[in-house]
């Protein structure tokens, strides 16, 4: 029969000694198997409000913990630790330390929305997963994921120019994620492009890469979009009790 208490030993506390002898006695094996106090001594009532202030998290307060989301979950099927029902509860009751133990898997949600379609209360658990990931990132608990960096590079360009220039997107993405531009697969792709593309198309590619054209009369659209994005970010950061966001001049520099 499995020993329930073993689940309560935190792996981060464990010390393992393959060979340990003290005063001639062999004491090899696991040490520090104490179970820390698991008593919840207060509710952090701000946490639910903060997650609810982020896009997708609006309906988290509706959850009545039936577990339909976790049952339906694609990721849970391969990783039983991925438990939307549980995280929704931790956020609702403000059990922040407990949530942080899972901070590195929350973002694994693949947005299949099976949970959204099965939820009897329209909690929109997929949106809540996004909001929780976003919350963890804004609070500085998790670094920006490469996917997030890519999204930013991509949307910064669109906002600035109304157009995408692929070469620029790739260069900036590699630069921001600290990856080398001279990658074998990229060099090979460039070689083949040069070899096989019609000369006219190549010329246009080169032209775009060189001067990065923008959509005609884009400046007013850009101003409107920037204003909206800035207001949204400011609202989110203030809901989370964080400082004002960086100015667009620094974040969009050279996009």
């Amino acid at each position: 029969m499995p020993i329930h208490e073993k689940e309560l030993i935190r792996p981060e506390d464990l010390r393992t000694h393959e060979q340990l002898t003290v005063d001639g006695v062999d004491v090899s094996g696991h040490w520090s198997t104490f179970i820390r106090s698991r008593v919840v001594t207060d509710y952090n009532e701000a946490m639910q409000e903060e997650v609810a202030a982020l896009p997708g998290g609006e309906f988290i307060h509706r959850c009545w913990q039936c577990g339909s989301c976790t049952n339906a979950c694609t990721v849970n099927a391969v990783n039983p630790d991925f438990n939307p029902r549980f995280w929704i509860y931790l956020v609702r009751m403000g059990m922040e330390a407990e949530l942080l133990r899972d901070k590195d898997i929350v973002w694994q949600c693949v947005s299949c929305n099976k949970c959204t379609h099965i939820c009897p209360r329209d909690v929109n658990p997929e949106g809540v997963m996004k909001a929780i990931s976003h919350w963890l990132e804004l609070k500085g608990h998790t670094p920006k994921s490469p996917a997030m960096v890519f999204d930013e590079v991509f949307s910064d360009q669109v906002i600035r120019r109304g157009k995408i220039e692929d070469g620029r997107t790739i260069r900036r993405f590699f630069a921001r994620t600290g990856q080398a531009l001279q990658q074998d697969w990229l060099i090979e792709m460039a070689k083949r492009l040069v070899r096989h593309l019609p000369i006219g198309l190549l010329a246009r590619l080169g032209f775009s890469a060189a001067i990065a054209p923008r959509t005609r009369d884009w400046s007013r659209a850009r101003a409107a979009i920037e204003e909206y994005v800035q207001a949204e970010h400011a609202a989110q950061r203030s809901a989370l009790g964080l400082d004002a966001p960086d100015s667009p001049a620094t974040t969009r520099e050279g996009a």
Binding site: V40, E45, W64, L90, M93
Partner: protein
Amino acid sequence: MNDSILIVGGGPAGLAAAHALARVGRHSVLIDKAERLGGAPILSGYAKLVPSGEWAKDAIGGMVERVRGDSLVEVHTGATVRSFDGSPGDFTAQLSDGATVRAGAAILATGFTHFDSLNKPEWGFGTFPDVVTTTQVEQMISSGRGVRCPSDGRKPQRVAILLCVGSRDRQIGREWCSKICCTVSANLAMEIREELPDCHVYIYYMDIRTFGLYETKYYWRSQEEFKIKYIKARIAEVTSDGTKLIVKGEDTLVKRPVTIPFDLVVHAIGMDPNLDNKTIASTFGVELEPHGYLARRNTYGNMAETTRAGVFVAGAATGPETIDDSIGQGHAAALSALGSLGAAKATA
């Protein structure tokens, strides 16, 4: 042969029965041991009723007015029945105020008694002034004083409502579900949030039984509109750290113990059988069912029969009951009593 009907108890069920009989031109004698008519909703000062949202003093007070102004209803308050003899069609009751009542049938609408929280000392009632009952919160609201901590009159920042206090508890011989406390608690939680929007309200439950259509209006609405938090935990004990109440239990959904500070703890008290039920049973010669409520002879065939012919029962005297169902049962008992008089007449 006597055509009058004796009604014992002037709460919602008794008032409904008296009114129904008057509507068909039948004389009744309505007696209540309290000095006022209205039963628990009036005597205990309930606030807004489930499910209409009307104030008890208007809704039930209106029923009292209607009966008080009816010449076909003879009212005796501050009176109990000392003895009850005879047979269907011809009963005689001696009242404690010296009056003698002759009646062809009787309706027992003797109601219930609120659970006394002193019987669950581990939950702090009677030890800590800021542990109160749902009835007290009803009174805070209905009196217009608002929900405050009795110890110092401050507005609570965080309130815990403990469900099933005096219900579903074999330790204290109360196995029944009191039926209304979940809905009443959700209703009160919303009223607290309405008056004190900065106050957080938590409901500690074993199951939520906001049955039927109350699901939408109370359980869902309390969460979706009022952000009441429901926590599946039966609280082990309520103590104090000197400034706040400390609620201890196990949050069963995360399998973790909780010791959470609260300003105000509310017991959602259940419905006990009327304390007088043994006296009532012996005076009227009717039987009690195993929990101590008045037994009904028949579930489907004839409504409201007790184990004694010509004596009927309605409302929370038969078990935990809602106000609107008690009123319906009062009407059913009135009709059954009328029918029994017809039958008695035919055999006379």
